[in-house]
Amino acid sequence: MTDAGIALAGPGPAVPARTATDWKSAAMRARVRARYRSEQWFRALGVLALAIAGAFLLFLLGTIVRDGWRAFQQTEIEVPIRFDRALLGLPEGKPGPQQLQSGDYANLLDPVLAANPGMGRAISEGAWVRLRTMVMKDPALLGQERKVWLTATSNFDLLAKGSIDRTADEADRRVSDRDIALFDQLGREGRLRTGFNWQFLTGSDSTVPELAGIWGALKGSLLMILVTLGLAFPVGVLAAVYLEEYAPRNRWTDIVEVSINNLAAVPSIIFGLLGLAVFLNVLGMPRSAPVVGGLTLALMTLPVIVIAARAALKSVPPSIRDAALGIGASRVQVVFHHVLPLALPGIMTGTIIGVARALGETAPLLMIGMRAFLTDAPDGFDQPATALPVQIFIWSDNVARGFVEKTSGAIIVLLLLLMALNAIAIWLRNRYEVRW
């Protein structure tokens, strides 16, 4: 080793003298500039990625709102109606409610149609329901003549909303020139108005767009979510408490943990297959029922709740447990009197997020037959029902032009519902979360 030292000290091969880097030289300046340029580019790429994602979100929401807000409006046409007993098929004298109920109200439109056959394409085929409601409320109307606002057909509704291109060739457009002339004539006579579409919020599915509503699907969704929440929340919290607070570290606990983590990543459609095979085929539960949908979604939501609840329980500091144990609480009392109440806001937040996901889920519900065409809202947990996302799916398949705005309108309602749920979750977190 010393030899080497001496060799360095003595005359040896000449070491080239290291000249200091000349940062001012043109070559070095260009290099530094290039490096900073690539820095700028990289940064711009990051901004671009975020901008693309954001632009897509805006595009998506913008398209939905543009197409959908009109679903909340409906055009009506003013028509003179004579409440003629003969047309209704009612006997003279005071008719009973049963008779009023079963009258032939569609016939009341006959004089209108006789005067102008085109009105048959202007007035919705379900408009008579309003006439029945009027008469049921006030039987004195019988024999009188009134001007009544009746629901317009989808084509006239779209004309009023400007959704139909009038300049297009007649063959390419859904509405004939004659109908447009009639529409303009009605408009000149002041017999058209556009108002809030209550039918859309209170009705159920229908084959004609102007009568279709989301209430049936919404109610089905709510019934289902009740079942999901009622099952998944208690079971999920109890399972999380066991795994986080009591479970011994052994093979058995490992199996439980692994299966929960895997269930959280299983595609939702697999849960649908499970529901079909077990709930419908083995247990013989009713098809299309909210209880089956709720059960299926509960199994899907369970792992989400367990994972969120475990995280919330873990964040409660051990000092709380030690203090409770120290003053003589039993192990069950420690958890149920002290740890669980402190973890509850976190658990609730996770539960709401899980439920929001279940509320937007479609695929598993298709598997268990919640795709039925139902014109009434479900009356109970075992009645055939559909759900809001499934209704969106059904309508999206419908070729009738009027259903595009209904589909987008239903999507707006669904998104508002999910936003409200998430807002509650965020509020809960901000209001009650404790940072230890």
């Binding site: 490096r35 690539s38 820095e39 580019w41 990289f42 940064r43 790429l45 990051g46 990625a49 975020l50 994602a53 954001g54 979100l57 998506l60 398209t63 939905i64 208690p234 079971v235 999920g236 109890l238 399972a239 066991y242 795994l243 009591y246 479970a247 199996i255 439980v256 299966s259 929960i260 895997n262 990543a265 299983v266 595609p267 459609i269 697999i270 297959l273 499970l274 079909l276 095979a277 077990v278 085929n281 369970l302 367990v306 069950v332 149920f336 929001a356 937007g360 889920e361 479609t362 695929a363 298709l366 598997m367 499934v390 969106i392 799916f393 999206s396 589909t407 999507i411 669904l414 998104l415």
Partner: protein
């Protein structure tokens, strides 16, 4: 008596039992010589639990079994079990008898139903009384026995807590039962399918046309159950097109948000990005089918691709990729955050720019974590259903042209299982075989990806 009414009565009685147990324990507490072990609430809960649990179990058994028992009693009256040709005919007949007996329908189609309606009524009533009486008797016995055990020294709290622990364990068992249920139901139906179609044909065949013929001599009666076009479509959309969109966008947004963006911007931008993950997939599907697919088709036509179809792999894959962005982004975020700060600081101290540090140091160091996240994203994308059902179509094409329509495993499962189902046809059963493949593949991807992520975390801890 209906099960629902009995349930209400039982719950009311349970409340009563709780109150009585608690009142009795309160009386102990007034005796100064008694060493009371548990507080009165535990005595009350003990009585209520011992009385209610067996009764509720019997009630559940009743709700499950009652219909079958009534049906058996009705069928016993028919010579040689009614001689029904199919199970369906027997079920229909029994439904008719039941509806007639309850008065839901005025008259029955089958003359035997009218005869048997009184039998149904009698059997239903008898079984109702039997079970109802049994449930109430069980409740009474349980309540009396538990009440008799209440003493000042009785360890009611220990007993109740043992029950609570049992309930906790049962709850955690549900996860295993669900997994077991998925595996068994998929396996069972798939085995039935593989009895009709060989697994080799299913996994390697190139034609997919799952119609089964009604008559043997019908055209196309053979049916084709080669799932390779489905597997390819799934990989093409979920693992290729969607990832081409999601990986660069997700990774770059994670890099920008964690390395460049000021904290205030990050606080706003991240939740907005997360909204993309919160939009229901049916909404994406609607958007893909109605807005994106026509644009993609126009693009294809303008590029001179004549076969560009209205339902294309590209439209579905693009939208799915956008949906996956927040997922990839948050996985990349975690992976980048796990790289020790010393590595980043060292690189910056040597004079590297931020982007050089990210490209040469951070991303290579975080690569295993990012790769694991991407695998998880792939697993999510191939299990995604609604977007492909609505935008990718049902044509089983084996093509690499993104402007053509392809179909995926999930889209086919939906197509096979909606509408009429007979549970002995290969068509319906094939959906379960597809489900089994999907389950196994996503499971393997998840386990492998989580293992990578875990090992990577440990390497830096």
């Amino acid at each position: 008596m209906s099960p629902a009414l009995l349930l209400l009565i039982l719950l009311g009685l349970g409340g009563l039992a709780y109150g009585m147990g608690r009142a009795r324990a309160r009386a102990f507490a007034t005796d100064p010589r008694a060493a009371v072990h548990s507080r009165p609430v535990y005595h009350g809960a003990f009585v209520a639990a011992v009385a209610l649990l067996p009764a509720l179990l019997l009630l559940a058994a009743w709700a499950l079994l009652a219909d079958g028992l009534v049906d058996a009693a009705v069928l016993a009256r028919l010579p040689d079990g009614g001689g029904f040709e199919t199970d369906l005919a027997r079920t229909a007949f029994l439904t008719e008898v039941g509806e007639l007996a309850r008065g839901d329908i005025p008259s029955a189609f089958d003359p035997r139903a009218a005869e048997l309606a009184p039998v149904w009524r009698a059997a239903s009533q008898r079984i109702g009384w039997l079970f109802g009486g049994g449930v109430l008797a069980l409740f009474a016995v349980g309540a009396l026995w538990a009440f008799g055990r209440l003493r000042p020294g009785f360890r009611a709290r220990t007993a109740v807590e043992r029950l609570v622990m049992a309930a906790l364990m049962l709850a955690s068992l549900i996860a295993i039962l669900t997994t077991l249920g998925i595996v068994l139901s998929l396996l069972f139906e798939s085995l039935r399918f593989f009895r009709l179609v060989s697994p080799v044909e299913f996994l390697s065949g190139l034609t997919w046309s799952p119609q089964t013929a009604i008559r043997a001599d019908q055209v196309g009666s053979s049916g084709g159950f080669g799932a390779v076009p489905l597997f390819w479509g799934t990989i093409f959309i979920g693992a290729i097109i969607a990832m081409v969109v999601a990986i660069p966008l997700g990774l770059m947004s994670a890099v920008f948000l964690t390395q460049y963006a000021p904290a205030a911007f990050r606080r706003w931008a991240k939740p907005i990005l997360e909204v993309l993950a919160g939009v229901p997939t049916v909404v994406y599907g609607f958007f893909a089918a109605l807005t994106v697919a026509p644009l993609v088709r126009q693009l294809g036509l303008s590029l001179g691709i004549a076969e560009a179809s209205a339902e294309s792999a590209l439209a579905a894959g693009l939208v799915m990729g956008i949906m996956i962005i927040p997922f990839v982004s948050s996985m990349a975020d975690d992976a980048l955050a796990a790289v020790p700060a010393a590595m980043k600081d060292g690189s910056l101290a040597m004079g590297a720019t931020v982007s050089e540090t990210i490209r040469r140091v951070l991303i290579p160091a975080a690569l295993p974590g990012i790769a694991g996240g991407v695998l998880l994203a792939v697993s999510r994308a191939i299990g995604e259903t609604m977007i492909v059902v609505m935008a990718a179509g049902l044509a089983a094409n084996l093509t690499a042209n993104p402007f053509r329509s392809v179909t995926t495993v999930t889209a086919q499962i939906v197509a096979l299982l909606t509408g009429d189902q007979e549970f002995d046809s290969a068509k319906t059963l094939s959906a379960f075989a597809l489900g089994l493949v999907l389950f196994l593949v996503t499971l393997a991807l998840n386990i492998y990806a989580l293992a990578i992520v875990k090992r990577y975390r440990e390497a830096y801890d």
